[in-house]
Subunit: 342 residues, 2 copies
């Protein structure tokens, strides 16, 4: 029997990574192309052409295999329409003052890539949703019907699964938990979305950095962090300082964990997940962030939910989660259709 493989693609601002993934979640072959080289609006068509050619080359290295589909994780991608809608860091107008409206920057990705792969199933969704599906098919959410994935990178992304199905919402854009209000919409921190007080301005690699700088202003203690300018500050420096018992770093993790824990208690009140899975750069700080998050989540749970919700780290964090997530989109549907037709 021919070996079945799904192609997973992760479109990042720097590179587009892709790989062939088998039913057990092994990436049997992978490759990448530069996204940055094709960063302007007019580069989109050549980008698709280059990507398709590189994908075909990778596929040709695998003898005796059947490609069951192509799954893609990308910012602002919509599973219903197959489009990437006005991504902040992809295929921008070369002239920042370009007068064309953002409605022009809608990329019909599934259709455009599909021209090179006739008859092959292609699906696309946003990065956090792809990560959640990766976790469900290959990671720590296997067997779970109700869970949430929180990705803590530059921003805060979320993928929510209820009744065994990804929650995409009526328009395909559900799961924007990074943009709930945790502080006043009038006086909270400014967010990249144009509003104030969003969760991700406090809880993300950028958010905890902002908290550390706020604490340098409000606290008077010595701290190794005081020598680092804002522009050079990376979240990793906070973990290192916290391990040295730096009081500002420790307090930054405590506050970040409090805000995340309170927000996860509220998420529990909505969907009552079996587990919440953390993933991404800030989650790499491990117990520095997990311990206060779990403590504050429990302290803020409604009685009926206390002690019930598991807070887990990603089970595919060390692997190429984005490639696995894309491939899992295909594998999930493939395995379900096999069961239905059995």
């Amino acid at each position: 029997m021919m070996k079945k493989l799904a192609m997973g693609i992760d479109i990042g601002g720097t590179n587009t990574a892709f790989g062939l993934v088998d039913e057990d979640g092994n990436v049997v072959a992978e490759s990448k192309i530069s996204t940055e080289k094709f960063r302007y609006f007019d580069d989109y068509k050549p980008y698709i052409e280059t990507l398709a050619a590189a994908m075909k080359e990778l596929i040709s290295t695998q003898a005796d295999c059947t490609l069951i589909g192509i799954g893609i994780g990308a910012p602002n991608a919509n599973i219903h329409s197959g489009k990437i809608e006005t991504p902040a860091n992809l295929w921008k107008f070369e002239n920042p003052a370009d007068p064309r409206p953002d409605t022009i920057r809608i990329f019909n990705f599934v259709e455009d890539l599909g021209k090179y792969f006739e008859g092959i199933k292609i699906m696309i969704t946003n990065d956090a949703n792809a990560a959640a599906i990766g976790e469900m098919v290959f990671g720590n959410a296997r067997g779970m019907k109700d869970f949430a994935m929180i990705t803590l990178g530059t921003g805060l992304g979320s993928g929510i699964v209820c009744n065994g199905e990804m929650v995409y919402g009526s328009d395909g854009f559900a799961g924007e938990y990074g943009h709930i209000a945790v502080e006043s919409r009038q006086t909270g921190r400014q967010c990249g979305c144009g509003r104030r007080g969003c969760l991700e301005t406090y809880v993300s690699a950028t958010g905890i950095k902002r908290t550390a700088f706020e604490l340098m202003a409000t606290m008077t203690c010595d701290s190794e962090l005081r020598s680092i300018p804002y522009d050079k500050f990376e979240a990793k420096m906070l973990s290192d300082a916290a391990k040295n018992n730096d009081p500002i770093a420790l307090e930054a993790f405590e506050r970040t964990g409090r805000i995340l824990g309170e927000a996860l208690a509220d998420l529990t009140a909505v969907t009552s997940p079996e587990a919440i899975i953390l993933f991404g750069g800030l989650a790499n700080a491990g117990n520095l962030i997990v311990e206060p998050t779990h403590r504050h989540m429990e302290a803020n749970q409604l009685g009926v939910f206390k002690g019930k919700v598991k807070l887990l780290m990603s089970g595919i964090q060390d692997k190429n989660v984005a490639i696995l997530g894309g491939a899992a989109l295909i594998w999930k549907q493939y395995l379900e259709s096999v069961i239905e037709n059995y």
Copy 2:
């Protein structure tokens, strides 16, 4: 062909209403028994016996009908376990100082009622979930796959539907949107759940009354509300005063609408519903509450959701929504199984 009917039951603190409902949502026969008469813990067994007898009597009035199932909406009911768990106002210990723990006050409702209806499908869920399913099968959410129901009574209940399925969560208790934090957990209003700052302490018939009393303290204007003591104050008086342009009543609706609107924008970020449906006593104030809620929801939506979410009034508000909701639990499953077996 025999006419198919589902029994819907609504267990309230005062009465238990029940009725036989056809496929089109007509209540063809209804009746009720007193719940209050059986309000203590030891009354539970006689209550079940009395209810079963009254149900059988109602069924006997319908010639040529088949009972396809019994669906129940009740406080603290769990669809997974079929139990009612520690309800605040039902079957309490006669002596308030009774030392038995609350774990004793778990009522195996589906099993206990089932003894009187062998071979008949029985389902139970909480009131807000039943109302949402009623709306989906018989009301304004017909044809919708993603929507949320918000019930504004003494408290705030919610029922959330994603991908065409009720979100019950891993433990059956999802949809407690009344208990998300909208103010500080340290300094917000005290909630019946033992915490502070919950949405329902601001947005509910009780919540808007508390706001009116706060405003009487902070504002100096004349108001017809100043003659009413807290104990005698009903939410209906606020609607009446607002219609007379009472400044405190108008401001109370504005603030309540702001808090609800902000909370619904956050709910949109999680599940991206096609519509949010309002129901219950406070929703009866109509545009007094709907207009500010809609305005603040729109003002606080993340860009991608602006102008997308419909804010609707219940389509079964005038009918017996609780009986219809219970019956809809049965009808939804029945109709789906007919389609599957077609």
